[in-house]
């Protein structure tokens, strides 16, 4: 993440260190291929127009959760959020379009509206070092919180109560409403989108898994950025707001913290922004342990959900669903296992494999901690594909509820479009195992092949890289086998 305010305040002509390119992949700039797309993204009204319908749906969903039927599969709040939205997010948006959800997300809408006091136009002025006039207290977010630990812990906390969250419309609405409120309040007090960057629990895993996405927003030519005096992308100008995500595209080499708001497409005076299509899992660099632990948390949660939600054991379901079963003792056992798995056991096992990797590579100059952090990248393709494999049954088994709740969103007996009586009908359930197997193997393949890049970066020679990769490939294989047992064993 580029801490723009410190650097720009200290040195008006910014010296930009360009990132090292270690692996080159073929990329195709969609903005060059499609002038229409470029025109759409350059339009000032673009983001407002894509958020607006989403905001309306979001409003309906919150209301439905509060006043509609408490039966989850008959309430649009549950069916649209935890079946439709989740599947589209994890299986389509993240792998193919990076953080495109952040482009249309309604959560920061009111906060950003308050900061800008504008829906579409840009305000010229001065706010600390920016060339945009912004409202609110504009405080600096504390440096020690400038990481994704809050998102890690927040997401793990929410997921601990997942059995309640994904089945009770009221709870879903309260959580969404709280996030909307939080997004607004934080924007009033702190600069830019601190809620999205540091607090939003969804943003945390989007940031990690967007590294694997086949789409990226980047500088077209970094030399142009280096020579650029205007730097409207990060400081704002009359054409666009300063990047609300604190990113400077001139040295941006990862998708993690770019919310694809497209302001830089508008503000760049050099027309130097590219929206590239690239191969899957092109970014391989994990930069800090908070990102590594996001990978472990996501992996542990995918395993836990496979047991609790897709599994068959009634006792575990009762523990996770303690608010109904009353088994609070069991709930604390379950929560303890979940938290210790995510934060201690899985990372601990991975640390052992990292140690093995160091020993097998024969390279002493790299610490186990560096190996642990670097190789935690393999959890990105591995975890993302495991989550997609987990999510396929959610959609294909329960997707038919979408058809019925469209006609009766509150579960009040309406029949708006004549589909309210559409019966639950799983789609091709006996073939889902084949799909899951293929997805898991693809994840394993990317974990190993991209793991080699990581290994080479750590160990510097081909031989050491190959030897160091073997234990980590073993870890990836064990994880894949565990998911195979969950899904088809």
């Amino acid at each position: 993440m580029y801490i723009y305010d410190d650097k720009i305040e200290k040195q008006p002509s910014v010296e930009i260190k360009l990132p090292e390119q270690e692996h080159s992949f073929n990329k195709h700039d969609l903005l060059k291929k499609s002038p229409l797309l470029k025109r759409i993204l350059k339009a000032r009204s673009f983001q407002f127009l894509v958020i607006l319908p989403n905001l309306l749906v979001f409003y309906v969903i919150i209301i439905a959760g509060l006043i509609g039927t408490p039966v989850g599969n008959r309430n649009i709040a549950i069916v649209f959020i935890w079946i439709l939205w989740w599947f589209l997010l994890i299986a389509i948006m993240v792998p193919f379009a990076s953080r495109i959800w952040c482009t249309v997300c309604p959560l920061p809408f009111f906060g950003e509206l308050f900061q800008r006091m504008a829906l579409i136009m840009v305000r010229i002025g001065k706010t600390f070092n920016l060339r945009n006039k912004m409202f609110g207290f504009n405080l600096k977010w504390p440096k020690f919180l400038s990481n994704i630990w809050i998102q890690n812990i927040g997401f793990l906390t929410l997921c601990t109560f997942s059995a309640v969250l994904v089945t009770r419309p009221f709870v879903t609405s309260v959580v969404l409403g709280t996030m909307l409120l939080l997004g607004t309040l934080l924007a009033i007090v702190w600069r830019q989108r601190v809620f999205c960057s540091y607090v939003c629990p969804v943003s945390g895993f989007l940031s990690l898994y967007s590294m694997a996405s086949t789409m990226e927003l980047r500088s077209g030519d970094k030399d142009v950025c280096k020579k650029c005096k205007d730097k409207g992308c990060i400081r704002g100008n009359e054409d666009g707001w300063a990047c609300p995500w604190f990113e400077y595209i001139g040295n941006m080499e990862r998708n993690n913290y770019c919310g694809l708001c497209m302001e830089c497409v508008k503000s760049c005076k050099n027309d130097n922004i590219a929206l590239n299509v690239r191969p899957f899992a092109s970014e391989t660099k994990i930069k800090s342990l908070d990102e590594s632990f996001k990978g472990f948390i996501m992996l542990a949660l995918a395993m836990a959900y496979s047991v609790i939600l897709l599994g068959t054991n009634g006792t575990v379901k009762d523990w996770a669903n303690a608010s109904e079963s009353g088994l609070w003792g069991g709930f604390f056992i379950y929560a303890g296992i979940l938290w210790s798995s995510a934060l201690i056991i899985v990372p601990g096992v991975f640390y052992l494999f990292s140690y093995l990797s160091k020993r097998m590579s024969g390279v002493d100059s790299v610490t186990v901690r560096e190996i642990f952090k670097g190789f935690s990248y393999i959890l990105v393709p591995l975890g993302l594909l495991a989550w997609i494999a987990f999510s396929f049954p959610l959609m294909f088994i329960n997707g038919s509820y979408i058809i019925s709740v469209i006609s009766d969103p509150l579960g009040w007996g309406w029949n708006l479009f004549g589909t309210a009586d559409f019966k639950w009908q799983p789609l091709l359930p006996e073939y889902l195992g084949y799909v899951q197997l293929i997805l898991l193997v693809v994840g394993l393949g990317y974990a190993i092949s991209r793991g080699y890049f990581v290994s080479f970066r750590l160990y510097k020679t081909d031989k050491a890289a190959l030897m160091g990769l073997i234990p980590m490939a073993g870890f990836a294989l064990l994880v894949t086998m565990a998911f195979l047992i969950f899904f088809i064993g």
């Binding site: 054991n313 799983p426 195992g433 190993i448 031989k463």
Partner: protein, 169 residues
């Protein structure tokens, strides 16, 4: 990755799947199995049962609390189980909603693999996640899949080995 080396993981994957398939064990002599499945919020008992390919299954369904469903994937079977009754309704989803009263389901386990049975009648908050598993041995998909996965991992490492061999020598 150079394209010629991609053949290696593919070959080892196929080899692994064949090994997994063959080592999964053959079929034993079909027998009759009587199974009572008890449904309660939000699980079945047994939550998993194993049979062999060709076995004849006599399944009785009982609900211990509210009305539940029993949708057995792969076998075109759906049931509605009223609370505390010995009879229940069944239908074949491919034939629509022609429910028939019965006290026992008889099916021949003629498909191999894992088949989930799910509650098809909204029974409470966790209803969408109420399910059990019927395992018809040998589980070919799992055995072959596991072999293929191990083979694929080895093949990937082999591919990297050969791809980087030139720079090592």
């Amino acid at each position: 990755m150079k394209s010629k080396y991609i053949v290696l993981p593919l070959l080892i994957t196929i080899f692994g799947s064949v090994v997994g398939f063959v080592s999964g064990g053959g079929s034993s002599k079909p027998i009759r199995r009587d199974i009572v499945v008890k449904a309660r919020q939000y699980s079945y008992e047994p939550d998993r049962f194993e049979v062999n390919h060709g076995d004849t299954l006599h399944i009785r369904l009982v609900s211990l609390d509210v009305m539940h469903g029993f949708y057995l994937e792969g076998y075109d079977l759906d049931a509605e189980i009223p609370a505390n009754l010995k009879t229940f309704k069944i239908r074949h989803p491919s034939e629509g909603f022609n429910w028939k009263d019965t006290s026992e389901i008889v099916i021949i386990a003629n498909k191999r693999g894992k088949f989930r049975y799910r509650c098809s009648h909204t029974c409470g908050t966790m209803h969408p996640f109420m399910q059990g598993e019927m395992l018809v041995n040998p589980n070919i998909l799992f055995n072959a899949g596991l072999g293929a996965t191990v083979g694929f991992a080895l093949g990937m490492l082999g591919m990297i080995y050969f791809r980087t061999k030139k720079s090592r020598t």
